[in-house]
Amino acid sequence: MIRIEARPQPSAVMAYATPVLAVVLTMIFGGALFAVLGKDPFEAIATIFWEPIFGEFAFFYRPQLLIKGAPLVLIAIGLALGFRAGIWNIGAEGQYIVGAICGAGAGLAFYPTESVLIFPLMVLAGALGGWAWAMIPGVLKVKFGTNEILVSLMLVYVAEQLLASMSLGLLKNPEGFGFPGSRNLQQYPSAHNAEIIAGTGMHWGVVAALIAVIFAYVLLTRHRLGFAIRVTGEAPRAAKFGGVNPGRLVLFCLGMSGLLAGLAGMFEVAGPAGQISIDFNVGYGFTAIIVAFLGRLNPLGIVAAGLLMALTYIGGDIAQSQLGLPAAAIQVFQGMLLFFLLALDVLTNYRVRFGAAEVA
């Protein structure tokens, strides 16, 4: 008989060591997987982790890390606020889509007028769109006690339908020969989220992500609201006695994560992606959940985790092309990372006991 029981005092060191351990374990077992597939494991691991940062073409890949990592960090920061308070927004992907639609829509409404006001307006519209989409599960939870996990997740699929409709209808490029997809915002200077310094990958989304990290860090460590978030997550009853209004906290956390996800979508559509299309969303909203947990729901940890995830994506594509590794193997590799992290978390907080249960 095998049982697990809670450790009375989980190790504080382990809580910070587990992400590193998870990465190491992923490398070992991932390497074994690659070896079974007939590839040199050392070369494969080096290609994924080393090549993008220090390889021959690092000048290209390093900026790509920012481009790929920024939306992940931006979304994960928002999610972490809610997760800390036990408020589970699983629908960031939908808020990301709606933010992109609203942001792009606000910009395209003025096409082809050029003005410095257009881009700030798009930022506002994107943030508002994401916020509003997240308010739906928020208000339903507060008013009717619905489950925000289900409602926010289901709204992702609604958002995807909305995206398809926008690509085929309202936002369709009139000069696109009937093909779906909006005008390319990269070719509309006032609306283009261009690199601030060319060749660095540093666009406004990266700046926004950094601001969000600082904001979240200060909020959680210095602000009363951050304290309320932490207490609610760790001891809901104590929070109630302490005067925390749970309804307002739900609305704040969902609204904030929706707002940041909307911003991420807006910066993505106006910059790297360029246009609203049926397949615009590529799963950042879901990957950000992994990033948030990998980063221990800690703003600084999330930055590291976001960059690490971006690295496995970029390195994974390089490994596919250079070594002929199948995409599925890379996905398994990424999945291992979360698996090992969760497994180690369980072992940090619980211990495994063999033998019959003691009679209480």
């Binding site: 040199d40 290209f60 339908q161 085929l168 093909f179 779906p180 092309s321 995409a327």
Partner: protein, 358 residues
């Protein structure tokens, strides 16, 4: 495997990468939107890649990345291939159009080939596509003859000109042999999703369809038809021969191999030029899979005659008189549709019910 042998093989691989594999090989890259094992669209492009390898042997090196999302990810993958020394890159999804042109601007010495798009903003970008609607004409002919309920189901992927063209072509030719025929269309908004495709097929069958055409790439509709029994299907993108002779009675096969070989050779010989290719049955880009015995012999003969006429150009799949859905004239008697109209086709022909989703 011992550590030493691992290290040795790593060193060997690095040595190869640095030295022997220098510039004498032509490097051809392929960017795929789905997995190579999808059994449809991406699978056929990968067959084309393998044909290039078989044709040129040691003279070429091919690389590919599968499951590449359209947008910034595809731009990064293309750039990476170009940096790694690719001479020619095939980007095989419509959504790669702007990324392909963006990357082509940065690498003027690398040739880019974009499937199914229309933008050639740089002299190193070509576009290519196949006239699948020719194959749809043959399917329509068989479907119109085979249906007993006179209801033909159609699984549409996205309401884009490519797909609408196929629906129109199939409808026109089904109607020709069976004036009572009716099309029921379901849009699934995906190119490859077995679960959604199966649901769509079942819904169509429940609505009385006894022929199901699909513009999606999985074999799920074939499986659904087999389960329901008595429902005719056609393979899409690849032959899907595992469902022959019934429910799959024929198929449209994308055959990219001749084109990929020709374009690779052009790069090797230095004769590559930017162009727009739109080939059909005649050039071998669109293949018609075996028409099985489940189809009556006379229908098969007619279908093969239609195929021959489409191949030699004596017959065009869109030949007037044809009206648009709203009754306005589309083609006069004997007139054929020009490529511009076909490329941007965003209307149904007269007789199809329902609206194109907006």
């Amino acid at each position: 495997m011992k550590l030493t042998t691992l290290l040795a093989s790593a060193a060997l691989a690095l040595g190869l990468a640095g030295g022997a594999m220098a510039q004498d090989k032509t490097k051809v890259g392929f960017v795929y939107v789905g997995p190579v094992g999808d059994g449809g669209w991406t699978y056929e492009h990968d067959q084309g890649r393998l044909a290039v390898e078989a044709e040129f042997g040691d003279q070429v090196e091919t690389v590919f990345v599968e499951n590449v999302a359209e947008g910034p990810d595809s731009e990064r993958v293309m750039t990476q291939m170009a940096l790694d020394g690719a001479d020619l890159i095939f980007t095989t999804s419509f959504g790669y159009m702007d990324p392909t042109n963006n990357v082509a601007a940065k690498f003027p010495d690398v040739k880019f080939e974009h499937a199914t798009g229309y933008k050639r903003l740089h002299p190193n970008v070509s576009t290519y596509s196949a006239r699948f609607y020719e194959g749809r004409a043959i399917q329509g002919h068989i479907a119109g003859n085979m249906t007993k309920s006179n209801i033909i189901g159609y699984i549409g992927s996205f309401p884009i000109p490519e797909v609408i063209r196929g629906i129109n072509s199939a409808y026109v030719h089904a109607k020709k042999v069976n004036p009572d025929v009716e099309f029921k269309i379901i849009w699934v908004y995906t190119w490859f999703d077995p679960a959604k495709e199966a649901d769509a097929a079942k819904t169509l069958i429940d609505q009385g369809a006894d022929v199901v055409l699909q513009h999606t790439d999985s074999t799920a509709p074939q499986a659904a038809a087999q389960e329901a029994g008595g429902v005719v299907t056609f393979g899409q993108a690849s032959d899907m021969g595992q469902y022959a002779p019934f429910p799959r009675v024929s198929s449209i096969i994308d055959d990219w191999a001749p084109y990929y070989i020709a374009r690779t050779r052009a790069v090797m010989e230095g004769t590559w030029e930017s162009q727009d290719t739109w080939d059909g049955i005649g050039a071998g880009m669109v293949g018609i899979g075996e028409i099985t015995d489940a189809v009556p012999a006379d229908v098969r003969e007619e279908a093969l005659a239609l195929k021959a006429a489409l191949a030699d150009g004596s017959y065009h799949a869109f030949t007037g008189p044809l009206n648009k859905q709203d009754g306005s004239p589309f083609l006069a008697d004997g007139e054929t549709a020009d490529d511009g109209t076909l490329a941007g086709m965003n209307f149904y022909v007269e007789g199809i019910e329902g609206d194109i989703p907006q």
